[in-house]
Amino acid sequence: MTYVNSNNSKVRRIWKILILTTIAVGLLVLANTKLRGFYLGVFLLFGINAMACIGVSITNSYANIFSLGFGGIMLVAAYTCALLTLPIDYKTSVLTLPLWLENLQVPFGLALVVSGIVAVLSSIVLVLPAFRLRGHYFVLASMGINIVMANLAINLRSYTHGPLGLRNIPFHTNVWWVYGLLALTVFFVSRFKWSKFGRALISIGKDQTLAATLGINVVRYKIYAFVIGSFIVGISGALWVHCTGSMHPNVFDLNFVFNIIAMLAIGGSSSITGALFGAAIITFFTHLARPIQEGFVFLGFNVPPMIGLIQVLMAVMVILIMIFLPDGLFGSGKISLSSIKRLFATPQVGKERKEEKA
């Protein structure tokens, strides 16, 4: 590539980015006008899940601290955002809050940021065990944090309305919020991954002791990983609650956690492409394949309704992926955007590559 004029390539790159952005915005406008109701909801959920996946992958695959506690963090963030934006008369009728919180009504954008910050603060309960425990023991402890948070949400009735849950949450989430924030996240994380911080995190994930001997401050970088990861995850939880319009202590339970883990496992957690594709596959599969579990007539056979079939299929899918492709579909670089590009590239580029390698 050395003999390509660098100025020329820069211009080409800017053109490429411009064209891609235009196409993306065009698609979003199309989606915004054409999709309604259920399908719009699924489309939004895809964006939200993708964001959650990317946030989770920072701690779980870059830093290799396999945490299942993100359900609890999303729960905290979602309740925070809901409390900040609920209509005041609903709050007075259902909850018993301190006066300042009861009369507080903030714009959606500010509420998102605040809930992200609260998510970061609440992630301290994950950070502490992360420094002491390892492997399966940390997984178990982080899973416990999920259960503890859900239990607290059930019991703190004056703030959360207990198991009855909150309703009347305004539907602020729309295509622009979700995909704007998703684009920001993708941009940020893709820049972050190969920055000094990202490389330090990945080296900690590969071998912690070695990283420490090379002068990487393990404690500090683990805290960074949790801060960034839980900020993104918290914002996705806040978007989720404004997408569904109601909140319940058990929405981010083990099934939800499993869905996110399945997305990362199927897509391949060590790449952004993997997180996006995994989120797409699982979200569209779980929502659009719903009719098959509600019973249908197939070639004269009356197939009875089987609620739960989708989860079973997903579990089988995850097990098969774990057996045959432990890095996920997009994780090991077997299928990625650059490999597709290489497929269509002219043979000359291939020749150059060989020369470079030699």
């Binding site: 065990p129 399966h136 178990l140 259960i147 503890v148 499993f258 989860q311 579990a315 774990m322 432990p326």
Partner: protein
């Protein structure tokens, strides 16, 4: 007050036995394969559910139902080992890959049962004879509690003897402590793994039966909470230590019941918090558990 506490202790004993029986499977499988068998709670559920189906839907006597339940749970455990864990471990995948597979197996098994029987709670048929109560000095003791406790103690003694003195048991401890060295001196580790899954799953099925008999309720998601609690019991008893797991089960069962009994009623919904806070206390102060663990310990501490 003393009578009240005694009554609560008596009630707690059968719950403790259930947790102890379940914890044995966790501790064995963790010791040998180094993985938390998340689907163990579902094996427990299948034991209870098959017995419920046999006795209530197909109206068999309880003894056949129990035999079928043990067979079914052992079968499911072996299938899991053969078709989920073995292929994943064979590829020398990282630990967390195995964990994701076991998580998926747990969700899958639970939803298979939900698919056919929905998640509604069903009444486990308890034969009339088990409802009998004895009054000893003002404390009511149910016949089924005595039965569960006695069976658990007998099994515990036999198992402790088996693990300590039989050839397979010694092999099991050796593989649990150091797999490659054990293989070097001629222990058949795949046979040992299968024996561990058979014993663990059969005891989980038995524990499910005991749960059905003492609580009278079965449903497909019944295995989640006892499963996680039993793993904490295994950690408390020192992972890899079978007797320790049993004793850990009793400690946690009794502690949980006393936690609810002694605190004011307004705090009783916080019951799930008790075990998790206990887990954090154990992991931060003495992660090796109360008794001598039978695994190498680099993998727990930072």
């Amino acid at each position: 007050m003393g009578l009240y506490i005694t009554q609560q202790l008596v009630n707690a004993v059968s719950y403790g036995s259930i947790l102890g029986l379940l914890a044995v499977g966790y501790t064995m499988i963790y010791g040998i394969l180094g993985l938390i068998n998340f689907a163990h709670g579902e094996v427990f559920m299948i034991g209870a559910f098959v017995c419920y189906l046999a006795t209530s839907v197909y109206s068999m006597p309880l003894i056949y139902g129990a035999a079928l339940a043990l067979l079914a749970s052992t079968g499911v455990g072996l299938l899991l080992q053969r078709y989920v864990y073995r292929p994943v471990i064979k590829r020398k995948a990282p630990l967390l890959t195995v964990f994701i597979a076991s998580f998926a197996a747990s969700i899958g098994l639970r939803h298979i049962m939900m698919m056919f029987y929905t998640d509604k709670r069903r009444a486990f048929p308890i034969p009339q004879i088990f409802e009998k109560m004895f009054l000893v000095g003002g404390v009511a003791i149910g016949l089924r509690d005595i039965l569960i406790f006695v069976v658990t103690i007998v099994i515990m003694s036999v198992l402790t003897y088996f693990i300590r003195y039989s050839k397979v048991g010694i092999g099991m401890r050796a593989v649990s402590y150091d797999r490659s060295t054990a293989e070097l001196v001629g222990v058949n580790s795949s046979k040992v793994t299968i024996v561990a899954f058979v014993i663990g799953s059969a005891l989980a099925g038995l524990s499910g039966l005991a749960y059905g008999l003492s609580f009278g309720i079965v449903n497909p998601s019944m295995g989640v909470t006892p499963g996680l609690t039993a793993f904490i019991a295994a950690v408390l008893g020192g992972i890899g230590n079978v007797t320790g797991a049993m004793i850990g089960g009793f400690i946690i069962g009794i502690g949980e019941v006393l936690f609810v009994a002694l605190l004011p009623a307004s705090l009783s919904p916080l019951r799930p918090l008790f075990v998790w806070i206990l887990l954090f206390v154990i992991l931060f102060t003495k992660p090796s558990g109360l008794f001598k663990p039978n695994v190498k310990f680099e993998e727990i501490w930072e």
